[in-house]
């Protein structure tokens, strides 16, 4: 479904991500893990053509459903975003206009993708919120983003991203700003998307526990390069890569070795 072939991404001619390869199948969940600044977010931003500050793919190709994304015009990109490929961010509240109600943002999003009446768009939004099991969707549509809790905002973001049942969902640290109990809820919900809609998901996270729980395939990144990759079982149990082992050992674990 999605293929990144030997991709190098540069900001101002300085390569930030080098020789990145990934071959992703439909309905697969892939995690990109690594420390801050290792280029995880840059990779998924490139897939959606959203590289910040003059970033450019300088080498390699990105193919989605057989089409070469790098040859797309801005107009084609815009059609693709939010319909076949969606993205959710660390705080979905921050992507919404803080001075407008959720309902307004949601209907505007729907209306840019299809020609229906405002009323139909509104009820479509409500139906999506219901599907994401948000309580009293009418209320949420009438609220400003800051009036919702972090977990609710994140669910609204997922609901918006899933409106057109994308084949690929890109999630950039989707649970990092949440409390542990809410994090578990969101992770469960994202895994259900795969079961219900057969959506493939790329998750960028620094939380190795979340990555291990969710994904079929894990890519470990370091300084812009792929340090290690493999199935979950391989990365967690078999990989001999020093860096992978170091990362795994640093994760505080239930019943692990105590410091005191």
């Amino acid at each position: 479904m999605l293929k990144l072939d030997n991709v190098t991404i540069s900001y101002k001619n300085v390569p930030t991500v080098q020789n990145f390869n990934l071959d992703m199948k439909e309905g697969q969940i892939v995690s990109l893990v690594g420390e801050s600044g290792s280029g995880k977010t840059t990779v998924i931003r490139a897939v959606l053509g959203l590289l910040a500050g003059g970033g450019k793919v300088t080498e390699g190709s990105i193919t989605f459903e057989g089409e070469d994304l790098l040859s797309y015009t801005p107009e084609q990109w815009r059609k693709l975003r939010g319909s076949d490929i969606s993205m959710i961010f660390q705080d979905s509240g921050a992507m919404m206009n803080p001075t407008r109600k959720v309902g307004k943002v949601f209907t505007e999003y729907i209306l840019t993708h299809e020609k229906i009446s405002k009323k139909e768009a509104w009820s479509k939004g409500i139906a999506m919120l219901e599907r994401m099991r948000l309580p009293s969707p009418d209320n949420i549509m009438e609220s400003y983003p800051f009036q919702l809790s972090g977990g609710m905002r994140q669910r609204v973001g997922i609901a918006m991203g899933m409106t057109y049942q994308p084949k690929l969902l890109l999630a950039d640290e989707p649970t990092s700003a949440l409390d542990v109990t809410t994090q578990a809820q969101i992770v469960r919900q994202m895994m259900k998307l795969r079961d219900d809609y057969h959506t493939g998901i790329i998750v960028v996270t620094h939380n190795l526990g979340v990555a291990a729980y969710m994904s079929d395939y894990i890519v470990v990144m370091k300084n812009g390069k792929m340090e290690d990759q493999g199935t979950r079982e391989y990365i967690l149990k078999e990989s001999k890569n020093e860096y992978t082992r170091k990362l795994l050992e640093a994760v505080p674990s239930r019943g692990g070795e105590r410091y005191v």
Partner: protein
Amino acid sequence: MSEKREVILEAKHVTRRFAASHGRTLLANNDINLKMYKGETLGLVGESGCGKSTFMRFLVSLDTPSEGEILYRGTDITKLKGEELRNNRQNIQMVFQDPTLSFNPKMNIRDIVCEPLMNFKKIKKSEKDAVCRKLLEMVELPGDFADRYPHNMSGGQRQRVAIARALALEPEIVVLDEATSALDVSVQKTVIELITKLQREKNITFGFICHDIALVQLVAHQVAVMYLGNLVEVLPGKDLDMKAMHPYTRALMGAVFDINMDFSKPIESIESEAPSPLDLPQGCPFQGRCEHCMDICKKENPHLIEVEDGHSVACHLFKKGGR
């Protein structure tokens, strides 16, 4: 527990109310009773807004409780004023989550680390170089870092400088407010190792605020779990995994994603969200999310009851002396 444990700080019936809009009050700390022991770490866990930081801020006199007292070696530090208050700050210091925000960006590391010592006139200007070098070496940084500025150091290095500054006055108690939360796991590990090493060497008491219960479990001698301003369970850190009793503590432990967990089992978590602290129900604060909720839970807020030596729980399910 050994009898040698020495209580150096005790919070008694600490309550803090904040005035909120429309004449409402927000109860950030509700009747908190806690003890801190010499050379031990007290871990404080709970979700955002449960009052962890509110409580720890009392210890460093950044705020005062509405009711109750905090006794440090017998003196109530909440009543201190003027010079007495200033002098007490030598005993209790703090490390914040984000060192970039707690440093003056225009001061170099030498001035940052030595500032507390200069304020209390503990050293002369001419001694700064040597003292700074020694403090930096204590936190395993090269002494040459003295001439650097905060912005050209990594997050982990900055946090080490923050620890050096907090320890400069050789305080008895250091409060770490999410001090490792902004760091990458591998860096977090090295900072934790440093903190625990310094604790062993200098017998420091730590107040460790953290939302990562898996980490708290590994570093704290004593763990206090808070929920919406209430203390719901206090127990030894080593027992957290096996002996936690309060439904909320167990839910927190169940929601931890662990790399050694059984991935075929669904992750447990409470489905609902925490109520607004402005709109607390009568009775137990956890009632709406608890699967064991009984009639009494809706009427009375349970008190902390000691079920074992060093293990107290506030839940109607448990009575004195066991389940």
